[in-house]
Amino acid sequence: MSADGSELGELRRTVGQPTVADPIFTVRDCNVHYGDTHAIKDVSLDIGRGEVISLIGPSGCGKSTFLRCLNRMNDTIDIARVTGDIRLDGEDIYARKVDPVLLRARVGMVFQKPNPFPKSIYENVAYGPRIHGLARSRAELDDIVYSSLDRAGLYGEVKDRMEEPGTALSGGQQQRLCIARTISVNPEVILMDEPCSALDPIATAKIEDLMEELRENFSIAIVTHSMQQAARVSQRTAYFHLGYLVEVGETNKVFTKPLHRLTEDYVTGRIG
């Protein structure tokens, strides 16, 4: 089922609650173009401090693109052009004086496919703190590595095999290693781009539990294709469609009483 003209008109206005009282990220009128393709259209959305927000929607709706605006990963794509006002803690992250390197230290990212470096488990986690100069001594670095692994729920499984390559772990362990690597630089926000799509249900459950714990210290934005996952882990949910942010609101409301017909079609399984 595709959107006809009148629906496109409806799409332009986001329904629900895009703003929150205590935002860490505020995004206003964000547009992204890939060459001639208009991937994100006039999206305005807040991400609250200490919340998990799910971004859902059919494939190609722009949710991953939106996520990649938040840590300027789109900069690495030559043809991508981002406009609009995106602020982290009130600071425009696309301002000229903002260094994307520093920004990415503050906004960590976990990718769809686990992508540990082809180095040892220890080195995988130690890399971030090392390049950012977070540890002044080897002991301090050890502390950061072990506590990051511990917070990612991986320490017990790997404590005797720190020198083994990170790529030798199972898929779920690799993803938790990537999470440990991300939290090792102590970011303010963690972006997760379908972190469980390559994992089995048990590994997925572990990561979902982990997100619940991580929420105490970090704000999390997660892109997911699994509506059950969105319902389980997030407090708020944003529904994207054809580059528009259609609806955003509290997760249980979006899933039980969606305001927009497209959202309803999607969450009830009629499209997507």
Partner: protein
């Protein structure tokens, strides 16, 4: 729009029959396809095998050299008639006479100028220099008699290596019947020995085949490759990294890319002309020097290195780059910490294969004067020198029978180096290859 005729579905048995009958022709096609492949492989292996067998059959004898034992009487009357033992007098003495005397003693019934000259020519002229060096090193030898081994002249050497066909009419041979008799007589007296040919591996070129060697050329090649790798590898890798990771994607960069690819296909002799014009005529670098040869070969190898390095960089999964960037690594850190280590085996493989090609290159060296008759072993990259393939080319052009086997032997040495370099490339690839 075409009319669609909805036919009745075929029965299962009928479908099965059709598939079975098509299977036979499909399998036949597969077998035929495999046969073509096998034929191609067999043909290329046969050619390579034929090539190796010919070269080795021709060349292996050059690794041994016939030596002749002579009883040399260090006659003071000949060497130092004045008795002063002055180095000047000792070095200019007539050592040829010592060899002559010794040979005449062995064959007292040889008479006539022409026969005597033929007899004398059975021992290499190198004997004279060897005797001089012995006397200069130890003057107490004068007045004594010593049994010494000297390299045989190339014709005698060829005779003992079975490369002289005695059934051919004497007039069309360079080794006549008398020489055959003398050679056999020497052999009966135990004065002939075949030894490992150290001369071949330690000396430079010579007009006398038995005194010629590949060391000067090998050293020239070594210096040249050294210059090539020092210049081509870092520059090629740097260019590849810049083009792959940093350069904006615009028309200029596309143009550069196309030109690099074209450069890889430019005939090597053109690079020789360029080297002549730029390095020798403009920068006034010395002619025939391995430095210039290395620079020219570096220019020639660089496109290959760039192309190989770029594909090695491209083969690094983008997820690794994203992981590093997402963690806050700068672009240079991402490249040096992650992309480069992963791409290095591929880069090295490409560089070594490029160098192997440079090692075998002759044409550009002709243009910069490295096709020279080099007797002295080059000590620095600025000394006049030739290179292994050039030496092969020069020997292949020489009329002496003995240069035929030396040509093949030099080819064997060159091939050994090439195989060694290719093996190194394979080893590097397997040693540093990582899986992710």
């Amino acid at each position: 729009m075409a009319e669609i005729n909805r036919k009745e579905l075929k029965s299962a048995a009928e479908t099965r029959k059709l598939v079975e009958s098509s299977l036979r022709s499909r399998y036949a096609r597969e077998r035929r396809f495999q046969a073509y492949g096998i034929a191609a492989v067999v043909a290329s292996v046969a050619f390579v095998g034929f090539f190796f067998i010919t070269i080795i059959a021709q060349g292996h004898t050059a690794f041994f050299q016939t030596y002749v034992k002579l009883d040399i009487d260090f006659d003071p009357v000949v060497i130092d008639p004045e008795g002063g033992r002055e180095p000047q007098a000792l070095s200019s003495a007539n050592y040829q006479k010592l060899v002559k005397t010794s040979l005449e003693k062995l064959f007292p019934d040889v008479s006539g100028r022409s026969d005597k000259r033929t007899l004398n020519s059975m021992v290499s002229t190198g004997a004279i220099y060897e005797l001089r060096d012995l006397v200069l090193a130890d003057a107490s030898l004068i007045g004594k008699t010593r049994s010494l081994w000297f390299p045989a002249d190339d014709e005698l050497d060829m005779y003992f290596k079975g490369r002289v066909d005695v059934d051919v009419d004497e007039t069309s041979r360079r080794f006549n019947d008398k020489q055959v008799l003398w050679a056999e007589s020497l052999r009966e007296q135990g004065r002939i020995e075949k030894r490992f040919n150290t001369i071949f591996f330690t000396s430079g070129d010579s007009r006398d085949p038995e005194l010629s060697g590949i060391w000067a050329a090998a050293k020239g090649s070594f210096f040249m490759l050294l210059v090539t790798i020092v210049i081509a590898f870092p520059m090629g890798v740097a260019a590849a990294i810049y083009l792959e990771e940093f350069a904006p994607k615009n028309r200029w960069v596309d143009l550069i890319e196309v030109n690099i690819n074209n450069l890889a296909a430019v005939p090597s002799i053109i690079f020789g002309l360029l080297g002549l014009a730029v390095f020798i005529n403009f920068f006034s670098l010395p002619r025939s020097a391995p430095l210039v040869g290395g620079l020219v070969l570096a220019l020639m190898t660089m496109p290959t290195v760039i192309i190989a390095s770029r594909s090695a960089i491209k083969a690094v999964p983008p997820s690794i780059r994203e992981a590093a960037l997402g963690l806050g690594a700068s672009q240079v850190q991402t490249v040096t910490h992650h992309v480069l280590p992963l791409a290095l085996p591929g880069m090295l493989t490409g560089a070594i294969l490029g160098l192997a090609r440079a090692l075998g290159e002759t044409a550009p060296l002709l243009m910069i004067g490295m096709v020279a008759f080099i007797v002295d072993i080059p000590q620095t990259p600025l000394d006049p020198s030739s290179a292994l393939p050039v030496q092969i080319y020069l020997w292949a052009d020489s009329p002496e029978r003995a240069f035929v086997e030396r040509t093949s032997a030099a080819i064997i040495v060159l091939l050994a180096f090439l195989l060694l370099m290719n093996a190194a490339a394979v080893w590097l690839r397997s040693r540093f290859e990582r899986r992710w």
